[in-house]
């Protein structure tokens, strides 16, 4: 099975206020269709790793491959394009554009990609929203829906360009257990049905236990 994401010897330093070696020789790979969670104590560097893997943080040493293509060292415009096309994000805080409707939020990355017509994008967005069971909220402003709904909108948005991998930074972090279960089920379905890879940073042991593989981090290293 081909690798969705591969990291080789990732090292990262925080240079301010003093030099601090956050990530030490991290190597990992994620297969296509695999659901992986990263666990570890606060401050062990798991979020930092996620930002590097997501291409948003470029200040690191080591090599990063997405779909077997080297992406380390690309320009920020190229990386933006890669994020747009191949990586979906779900954050702990829902991070929707408050002044836009739910539908517009979901459509935006596809509009940026500009590969489909507006009608097709709208149709796709509605399909994704339906998949997550929030299609009735499509025309509401995204600031007017509940937390659990926002989280699902963020997932729908991360899916809109049919990415290779979805990354989540505590995507269930501030959801109640019912909603957290809901999100987990959605993720599980996506990996099983769509062959999507998922990489999720979490503190929630129950959530992690149900994933395909748990990567445990401590003190900037992968422990297991």
């Amino acid at each position: 099975m081909s690798k969705a994401l591969q990291a080789i010897n990732i090292n990262k330093h925080f240079r301010k206020p003093v030099d601090f070696h956050v990530l030490k020789d991290i190597s990992l790979d994620i297969d296509q269709g695999e659901f992986v969670s990263i666990m570890g104590k606060s401050g062990c560097g798991k979020s930092t790793l996620l930002y590097i893997l997501s291409t948003m943080d470029t200040d690191y040493e080591g090599e990063l491959y997405l779909n077997d293509k080297l992406i380390t060292g690309q320009t920020s415009d190229q990386l933006a394009r890669i994020r747009n096309e191949k990586i979906g994000f779900v954050f702990q805080f829902h991070y929707l554009l408050a002044e836009f409707t739910v539908l517009e939020n979901v459509m935006l990355p596809a509009k940026k990609l500009g590969r489909k017509s507006k009608e097709e994008i709208e149709h796709d967005a509605m399909t994704k929203l339906k998949l997550l069971g929030i299609d009735e909220q499509a025309l509401k402003l995204s600031s007017r829906i509940s937390g659990g709904q926002k989280q699902r909108v963020a997932i729908a948005r991360s899916l809109i360009n049919d990415p290779v991998i979805i990354m989540g930074d505590e995507p269930t972090g501030n959801l109640d257990s019912k909603n957290a279960d809901n999100v987990f089920d959605i993720f599980k379905d996506l990996t099983r049905d769509n062959g999507l890879s998922l990489l999720v940073v979490t503190h929630d042991q129950d959530f992690a236990d149900r994933t395909d593989r748990i990567i445990t981090m401590g003190d900037g290293k992968i422990l297991s």
Binding site: Y51, M56, F89, Y95, P109, K112, G114
Partner: protein, 419 residues
């Protein structure tokens, strides 16, 4: 990246905070509106004031001044070349004060490509007589139609018409001051006595008001033939030649050339009216300085509002970047907002400026200097509107450029981590 996506994001940003958008746009509107009003009114007024002098002043004035001869007969006698000579009480000759061979000179000037028109003038000293009163006067014999064409004589006629004078060899366009003193009406006959003692009855065809009371008490216009007749001179008797050029700026150079060729006193307009140039230059400078200040203030307003907007929109910027919008896209989103504000504000400013100018141009404005002007002078030159909108766009572009540069550099990781 399609522009329409960027514009739709900008539009949502602008529409979701209407109040701020309107205030920012109004800043530009007031700046541009004030610029249009100031420039229209100031240049209108400038034009009027300059016109008072410049329109009726020839660009080059040629005449034969009464002056002492440089060469005394004694100097020409070779016998006394080595002698030290003193000649007491030198007086000018009694020869006619006229331009010799004037018609040839006039024809030559009119042929030149830079000359809009050269006109012959006969200046005559005279007395106006009505009953037993005698008033000193100065009568100008002119080619009336050309005078109207080149020097806007029409604008200074308060009663009667230029045509009436042009068609009447015994007509006189009399200064309104003279008319008042002698209580004359249009259609009356005024007796004019020349320096030689002859008396001519002339019919008043109209009143002339220059705005300078001293001139209006003395000066009158007649046809050039009439003036020659008053002076008892033939038709080649011409005392002055006035030249109007296409380009006023060339006057000093051309007058220098003419001085080299002709033994005449030649004065160019720059020398004669130096202070007017300076006056209008300073007035223009002040209006530009004030308008540009207004626009810069408006620009700072936009700069502030966009800066605030970007701080408020940190999260949005992080999301956009995380979902694949590049720094340039984000920059374009904010610059386009500034430009939209600039454009809407600018166009509104042009409209406000136009209507305010229109309003000003309908205000009554009575001045003795220009009897035909009754409303405020306003210059509706399209160039102000073009400069205004261009300046609005440029200043808002820069007002948006610096904040948007900041937005471009925002690191999404920092924002997301910070939560």
């Amino acid at each position: 990246m399609k522009l329409s996506v960027i514009l739709s994001i900008s539009r949502t940003h602008l529409l979701s905070r209407k109040k701020q958008t309107i205030i920012a746009a109004l800043g530009v509107t007031f700046g541009i509106g004030a610029y249009i009003i100031m420039m229209s009114f100031m240049t209108g007024l400038n034009g009027l004031l300059d016109g008072l002098v410049l329109n009726r002043t020839p660009h080059i004035h040629l005449y034969d001044e009464i002056k002492l001869s440089e060469d005394q007969p004694l100097d020409l006698d070779e016998t006394y070349t080595d002698h030290f000579k003193i000649v007491h009480s030198v007086k000018p000759t009694t020869s006619q004060r006229k331009i010799h061979n004037a018609s040839a000179l006039l024809a030559y000037l009119n042929e030149q490509s830079y000359v809009r028109g050269a006109t012959a003038i006969v200046k005559a000293q005279a007395f106006y007589m009505a009953g037993t009163s005698r008033l000193t006067g100065s009568i100008l014999g002119v080619d009336v139609m050309k005078e109207a064409e080149l020097y806007n004589l029409n604008d200074y006629i308060v009663e009667g018409e230029v045509k009436d004078l042009a068609t009447n060899d015994n007509g006189i366009l009399i200064g309104i001051g003279v008319a008042k003193i002698l209580s004359l009406q249009v259609g009356d006959i005024v007796q004019v006595s020349t320096a030689l003692g002859d008396v001519f009855p002339l019919k008043i065809v109209g009143f002339y008001q220059s705005g300078l009371a001293d001139i209006d008490k003395i000066q009158s216009y007649v046809n050039i033939k009439t003036a020659q007749r008053l002076m008892g001179q033939p038709i080649d008797y011409i005392t002055d030649i006035n030249v109007k050029l296409y380009d006023m700026e060339l006057a000093p150079e051309i007058s220098k050339d003419l001085k080299a060729k002709y033994d005449l006193t030649i004065v160019d307009i720059q020398t004669a009216n130096a202070q007017f140039e300076t006056g209008s230059y300073i007035r223009n400078l002040i209006s530009y300085a004030v308008s540009i200040t207004l626009l810069i203030v408006a620009g700072f307003g936009i700069y502030n509002i966009l800066n605030m907007l970007i701080y408020e929109k940190m999260n949005d910027i992080a999301i956009l970047k995380a979902t694949g919008f590049s720094g340039k896209d984000v920059q374009r989103i904010f610059i386009s907002q500034a430009i939209i504000i600039g454009f809407i504000g600018g166009v509104l400013g042009l409209i406000v400026g136009y209507f305010a100018s229109l309003l000003i141009s309908h205000q009554p404005f009575e001045t003795a200097a220009l009897p035909t002007v009754t409303k405020m002078p306003v210059n509706f030159s399209p160039s102000f509107y073009i400069i205004g909108i261009v300046f609005a766009m440029i200043s808002t572009f820069f007002a948006g450029y610096f904040p948007s540069k900041k937005a471009q550099r925002i690191d999404p990781v920092e924002i997301i981590r910070g939560q």
